[in-house]
Symmetry: C2
Subunit: 400 residues, 2 copies
């Protein structure tokens, strides 16, 4: 008896690889700052739990597979506020954005289909795509260019007879890159010209800084209704990762039908969290603005500390809560191991996400790391100082 | 742009087909008894919500992908009580049993693999298996034999070089068939002899009647640790379908690793419901006994009413909360349509699940329907009376 081929070829998440060394370091009394995972530290709005506490049902039944009608209405209103005319029938609630991705992938990909994705990308796309035999064709983006990829030539040259979709994530995990409205429209245009789906993962939508505006591919959907599929989630926006409420939004009738098939098969998304999520979509604009400011300030601090480090390559990212940095090391995973096993600064060290797993192209991303600024300002300052000192110490050991 | 081949070939759930006629009937003032869906009416134990209300976290974070450690401990103790030595590391919490099935299927099936499943079976197996290109090879069971299938010859003759697993569901949805301990051991033995996974979907485990005992393939796992994979869920056991808490339980290390890959990719199961589920596993034996008695009584009433109906074929089922009945009609879907469009008894009618969708073999199951006895005793009596009268009226119209 053997496991499936797809799972045999799946690489372990680096988080798992480092875990035993993390435990060892903690045993030695080392404090670790966790910049490695995208778990926000911002408080979940209290009304979420209050709404759930008010739930009066005697039987916790399946909700409709598409989602709680009240929540669909609230999400529709939220999109309306941002200038998008989606109807409740265009919105399908999923078990987090993850299930949304899976439902969409199952609905459109056949074995051997190609999907164009800017690289580096959110690593879990790989496993869900592997289920349906879809092949990732990466748009290569570079630290030196701030991971820019919104370019017709860069994208079009990758299109083949097997291309079925372009999948983008703006603001991006892991790079923080934010597409402009013009770039979004360009991608939609390419999608329409070549009859491709454009899957837009917008779970970090509100987290944009400087001159970047909160936006969505949905704003420009007119004429591209059949191409565009949006993935969204309450996890990051409202700091409610544990709730597992995401959604698929599209006007493509055939895709909607196919996604609904999968949602009916899995019966329902979590009921209580859908009740709580209704509250979240009633939050005033000030809520979003406050969270945005918190992350922007942190981004500023992280960035200003990072550029003090000699020989790193890092362009100021305009969105999400990640910064990707190219380090003066050959292998960021080995450097992370060093930081856990052989280094501390005043009994403290840091964890980050080595970027290898965010790349499809073998050999790319080895020198890059992703920092999630989901800790307070003081910790970010300390963490980046530890990173700087760690790199110095690593260099001295000539392990660079 | 086209949707995927797998979704093109997916048939719609009959529930959806009948929905507009249901709405129409209700508009005409007809009361409908819903025997068509497996949504229990039994109250969710109040402690579930109380435990959630006591949740004090300020940030609703992702839980560990494997599940809340406290819940894993409680589930381990529950299995221990039933004579099974599973460790917390053998238990993986999923978004309902549905995600558990998907995670297991992704872990073991390659395109073209065959899985042997007694027919009729839980219809949603089809869609999740279609994701991974696995082919269903049905063991044909029959209403006349009480859907018995636990027979070496019946099973072994279906094994080919492509067979990868046997998937069973006891107590069964839709038939109510319950495997004996000997039959379970026979299936494990066949699995070991032919190097097959035995996937046992045991979400109705507690709902067994007459001389049937609460049991599990896990009780006999010794020597079959690598073969056996159990799917379980709190949905039916504790009437908590909306919580979406299920689990995969196995001692097969490679399968555990592969399932964990998928669970890590989708990050976490719902957090609050895992907190609530801890309470459910603290319920005393009396809870299970009371629920069991409630369903057994209903089964008795439903069965005794059903066998009064002329020309139906129905053996008394010993488990789950379903009865499958072979009707004296050519097409149970057409009969359901009649019951909604052209029939009422004192302004009342019933819905049931026509069994076509529970079959893989084309042309089988057309005369059968599934009744879910998830309504109170009075409603069951009335409902079966309506069924009897409906059949008479249908026969008079010579539409049989």
């Amino acid at each position: 008896m053997e496991i499936s081929e797809r799972m045999k070829s799946m690489e372990f998440s680096p988080i798992r690889k480092f875990y035993p060394y993390q435990v060892e370091a903690e045993k030695r009394g080392i404090k670790i700052y966790n910049f490695n995972i995208g778990q926000p530290d911002i408080e979940t709005p209290k009304g979420f739990m209050e709404r759930i506490k008010g739930y009066k049902g005697e039987v916790l039944e399946y909700l409709p597979s598409q989602g709680l009608p009240e929540l669909l209405e609230k999400i529709k209103a939220y999109y309306k506020k941002h200038g998008m005319d989606y109807e409740t029938r265009d919105i399908l609630i999923t078990n987090g954005g993850s299930e949304g991705l899976m439902a969409v992938f199952s609905s459109i990909f056949n074995e051997g289909d190609e999907v164009i994705i800017p690289e580096p990308f959110y690593t879990n796309y790989k496993i869900f795509l592997s289920y349906f035999g879809a092949k990732i064709v990466p748009i290569k983006s570079h630290a030196e260019e701030g991971y820019h990829y919104g370019d017709r030539e860069k994208i079009e040259k990758l299109i083949t007879g097997k291309t079925k979709a372009i999948l983008v994530n703006s603001p991006s995990n892991p790079t923080g890159n934010v597409l402009t409205k013009e770039e979004m429209e360009l991608i939609l245009e390419i999608g329409r010209e070549h009859s491709l789906y454009v899957i837009s993962d917008e779970v970090y939508r509100e987290f944009v800084y400087d001159d970047a505006k909160v936006s969505s591919f949905g704003v420009s959907q007119k004429g591209y209704e059949d191409n565009l599929i949006i993935i969204d989630s309450i996890s990051k926006r409202f700091s409610a990762c544990g709730a597992r409420i995401g959604m698929v939004i599209t006007k493509n009738e055939a895709v909607k039908e196919a996604v609904m098939h999968m949602l009916q098969a899995r019966l329902s998304a979590p009921a209580l969290e859908q009740v709580g999520a209704c509250f979240l979509y009633e939050l005033p604009d000030e809520y979003y603005e406050e969270v945005r400011k918190t992350y922007e300030k942190r981004r500023d601090i992280a960035y200003s500390e990072i550029i003090k480090i000699p020989d790193v390559i890092c362009k100021k990212p305009r969105g999400s809560f990640y910064i990707t940095i190219k380090l003066p090391v050959k292998d960021a995973e080995a450097f992370q191991m060093f930081m856990l096993k052989d280094f501390d600064y005043n009994k403290e060290t840091i964890m980050f996400a080595p970027c290898k797993g965010f790349y499809e192209t073998k050999g790319r991303g080895l020198r890059e790391i992703r920092i999630a600024y989901v800790l307070n300002e003081e910790s970010i300052k300390k963490g980046m100082e530890i990173l700087r000192r760690g790199l110095l110490a690593y260099k001295e050991r000539k392990e660079v």
